[in-house]
Symmetry: C2
Subunit: 553 residues, 2 copies
């Protein structure tokens, strides 16, 4: 995720002991060598039209000024490129000047990055201009790239020689160990393929930390981490990597103790000056997940206070009416949906986090804290129903409770309606229905009915990211709507595969394939952690039949 | 020099013993650290308008997207750049994307290299695009650059941070040892400055070999080597480097024994597939120069045959009339002057080379070879006079002696004239007068009169390069025109200094400062070996008073 928050003179508070523990947990990186499986030439520099070449011939193609060669590495990979370059013709009398474009999807090859005008830095676009002074040469680029396709364009040679890319290979890098992945099948080719793509997505994001995307951001985001961890528990099982990331988040925080939404690890661990109210609460939820998976007493002891502190800080943004203030709502991420009202969601996320906190407190035998949390949970659920539930329309309506644009209420507190019966102010989104369902605010039957129609109800404020789609599917499952959940996985993640995904994408709207939350598709990340959860969900649904033989590769 | 010759399936013949000897003579490279002495910002990206900044402030300038910072390293240097980068604002959440432009002259800073359409490869333009993933960072670029100015443009940061160039420095590289340079003064500030700039030009071209230019080509060219060697003998006195270069030229040649015009040294020594008839002969002349300087018997023994072979190969291009064939003339370089007719010059260069060969033969006590050479010299001088001297106009007229466009002659062999008295065909250039004078074809008094008016006589086919201007000055001195020679040094090389030269340029026409033989100024080399000779000429003229103290720096 990219997001711009700037706090002047921000200095995170670092906790050396926690950061040292995180450093001890640094994973071993694994490597393999991947060579291209195919080659082609784009007929024009930015044309999608291409001419396939047998790979053997691609490695003999003599490239003059302006020519291009595209190599296909077969699937999405993350690592370091080595090119073995030579020439035909006379001895090179001038450097070879190359442009290298690394593309996660084939569509990127024919996009001119100079046309990009989005708000996320163009410095993320994976392009390099390099001079090669001496040929033949073997060059290894110092930066890591996430890609399937490599487009090599000869910016200039000299009339005396042409360049030949004799060999190319990528030394991949990941901390995921495929031998740990249980061999399993659903018996359904589409679901198996969805699982495979999920796992590759996760593996390619598993580096020294759980990165959100190996192309862009390349760092820890709390929202991504929680979903990666869940999927990791049923696949690569690198629980130490989850633990390391939790310690990192706890080890560098806002001066007031808030867990940051994201964290830099280089040159050293440092919390970003970005607070997302829901992401801070996901720390508590992710710790609960981790402890349920591992029963790790040491981590419980070390991170308990941080998890509880996130709840307390969140509650400090709630008034006597048990509703969130504007700072809290404005600071929630929830989804990239434009104009999304986050009042209902942010309250619901807190309820979910308190449920997790209760479980953690119970694990610690901290009964007084547990009791207090339960009280808070009940108060918030009641407030949620009173404030956002529309008993007539049988759905949640999100909005502000004071000031301009707020939900209007009659004196008895009920929602005010315009003459045509519509609510004055407020917004019906998919997200609100989903999070309120996950927060168990409604009775099970009511929740089920709500979720059956959540997509239609919130169609004006739909979902934008696989992150939100994950929670939608989880809400369906929470209300027993298994068929609907499975169909949604097929429709949503399956359609990404139909559109050519080797790994799942950061943003995807099947109805608008060119959508980008960042102002340009070229900056989108096409291997993004928060999209990896189908492997987890299919496992949770009990749809996978496990075998003992050969792990999935 | 850049020049494009392509011979299909060319394979030079390498002489291992000679190349091994050249390898033994590899020089020690010397280094120093040079930091900027000033800074400024260009008001627009390609505007020459600038705003000076105190260097201290330049090293605190926070650069956002699109901003530039120019650093001035005080004079022309050659070496490796290190940048110490940091940031202001929030922790960088995206790579810093920088463009670095290295410029030998200030004018290059405001040129957009994308506008360059010349015939020499744009890959020589000293520009790099780099991504810096982690800040703060100290980065050292792997390539060597020749520059005085460095323009750093922020292609992109992110709204969260700005880049600061905290420190920049260049680790210079050269095999020139300034402590060997005699401290000397002419007592005339302009001439002293000309000498200083000459020496810096030479020093910056002295690397593992005598390079023609440290920015472009960066390799051995025979024409440059000869002039560098002469200047070296009166300054850095690295005679082993001259010897090494002569062994390299002898060690990798055309299969028929011809010395190539130029030679690559990386990845290993290899003659270029470029034959320039005058450059091959300069091997013999340069060997003669070297032996006169060093009396080196071993080199005489090792390279004698190669030097004589160049004369024999040249003579094989001469018919019974002792005039050169078209292949020989077309293959002469002489100068970049457009449309220059090279018949007279290429014959004259051969006469000069034979004079050198005679001296080498005498040194070897090879009297039979010496006698034969003397005969050839006399025959060629007579032929030169008969073919190209116009006794009426008292100058040399160059042209072809058969076929279309040739000099037309009456039956008695005299030059044919049109009714207005002009010669039919043929061309009067400065170069022809110069080389015929250097070849001693005329009696001294006649030559003196010719050289007094050579510039006017040849004004329609004037000189383009400092290389040709050098030989012009040498021809003036050969006919005793010391004042005219000195004035030409002041006018020509002096005007380069007035135009801002820290080192002398590859091409310079005071009447047309934007001239380039390569189709664009941005590709010109502004530190070019063949321009370094004023230091030699001033010494030869006896204008320098030597001191014992402090060598010139």
């Amino acid at each position: 995720m990219a997001l711009i928050s700037i706090i002047k003179d921000f200095h995170p508070h670092n906790y050396a002991k926690l950061l040292d523990r995180a450093a001890d947990l640094a994973p071993t990186l694994r490597h393999s060598i991947v060579a291209p499986v195919g080659g082609f030439v784009l007929k024009e520099r930015y044309s999608p039209e291409r001419e396939d070449i047998v790979l053997h011939k691609a490695h003999h193609l003599a490239m003059g000024k302006g020519q291009n060669l595209c190599l296909d590495f077969g699937t999405h990979i993350v690592g370091y490129l080595t090119l073995d370059l030579t020439y035909s013709g006379s001895h090179p009398d001038a450097p070879a000047y190359l442009k290298l474009k690394f593309a996660e999807t084939i569509g990127e090859l024919s996009e001119n990055s100079e046309d990009y005008r989005g708000w996320v830095s163009s410095s993320w676009i994976q392009e390099e201009y390099i001079h090669v002074d001496v040929l033949p040469a073997q060059i290894t680029l110092p930066r890591r790239y996430a890609f399937r396709y490599l487009k090599i364009t000869m910016m200039d040679t000299s009339p005396k020689y042409k360049l030949i890319v004799r060999h190319a290979e990528c030394r991949t890098e990941s901390s995921a160990d495929w031998s740990k992945v249980p061999s399993a099948s659903s018996g359904d080719p589409q679901l198996d393929r969805i699982r495979e793509v999920s796992l590759r997505t996760l593996a390619n994001c598993m580096q020294e930390v759980f990165e959100d995307g190996p192309k862009r951001d390349r760092r820890l985001w709390m929202g991504d981490l929680r979903l990666q961890a869940l999927t990791n528990y049923v696949s690569f099982r690198n629980n130490d990597l989850v633990r390391r990331c939790l310690y990192l988040f706890a080890g560098s925080r806002f001066p007031d103790g808030r867990v940051s939404a994201c964290l830099f690890t280089r040159p050293s661990a440092e919390a970003d000056d970005t607070w997302l109210s829901d992401y801070s609460l996901l720390f508590t939820i992710a710790l609960d997940d981790y402890l349920r998976e591992t029963d790790d007493e040491e981590t419980l002891r070390d991170l308990y206070d941080v998890a509880m502190q996130q709840i307390e800080i969140a509650l400090s943004h709630f008034g006597p009416d048990h509703l969130p203030d504007e700072t809290f709502c404005d600071s929630a991420f929830i989804d990239w949906t434009e104009g999304l009202d986050k009042h209902a969601c942010s309250l619901a996320v807190l309820i979910c986090a308190i449920r997790s906190a209760r479980r953690i407190a119970r694990r610690k035998n901290d009964w007084s804290q547990g009791g207090w949390l339960m009280e808070q949970e009940e108060l918030l659920k009641k407030a949620a129903l009173a404030a956002y539930w529309d008993p007539d329309r049988k759905c949640f309506v999100s909005g502000k409770h004071a000031g301009e644009g707020s939900l209007e209420r009659a004196e008895d507190g009920s929602l005010e309606r315009a003459e045509d019966g519509s609510l004055r102010g407020g917004q019906i989104s998919v997200a609100s229905q989903v999070w309120m369902t996950l927060a168990d605010v409604l009775a099970p039957e009511e929740a089920r009915t709500l979720m059956e129609h959540a997509l239609e109800l919130g169609s004006a404020h739909s979902m934008m990211t696989p992150y939100m789609h994950h929670y939608y599917v989880m809400a369906l499952l929470r209300t027993g709507l298994r068929e609907q959940a499975l169909q949604h996985i097929r429709d949503y993640w399956g359609s990404m595969i139909d559109a050519g995904a080797d790994t799942f994408w950061e943003a995807w709207d099947p109805a608008d394939p060119s959508a980008s939350p960042y102002g340009g598709r070229v900056i989108n990340s096409y291997c993004h952690a928060w999209s990896c959860t189908p492997a987890y969900i299919l496992e949770e649904m009990g749809l996978l039949k496990h075998e003992n033989a050969d792990p999935v590769q």
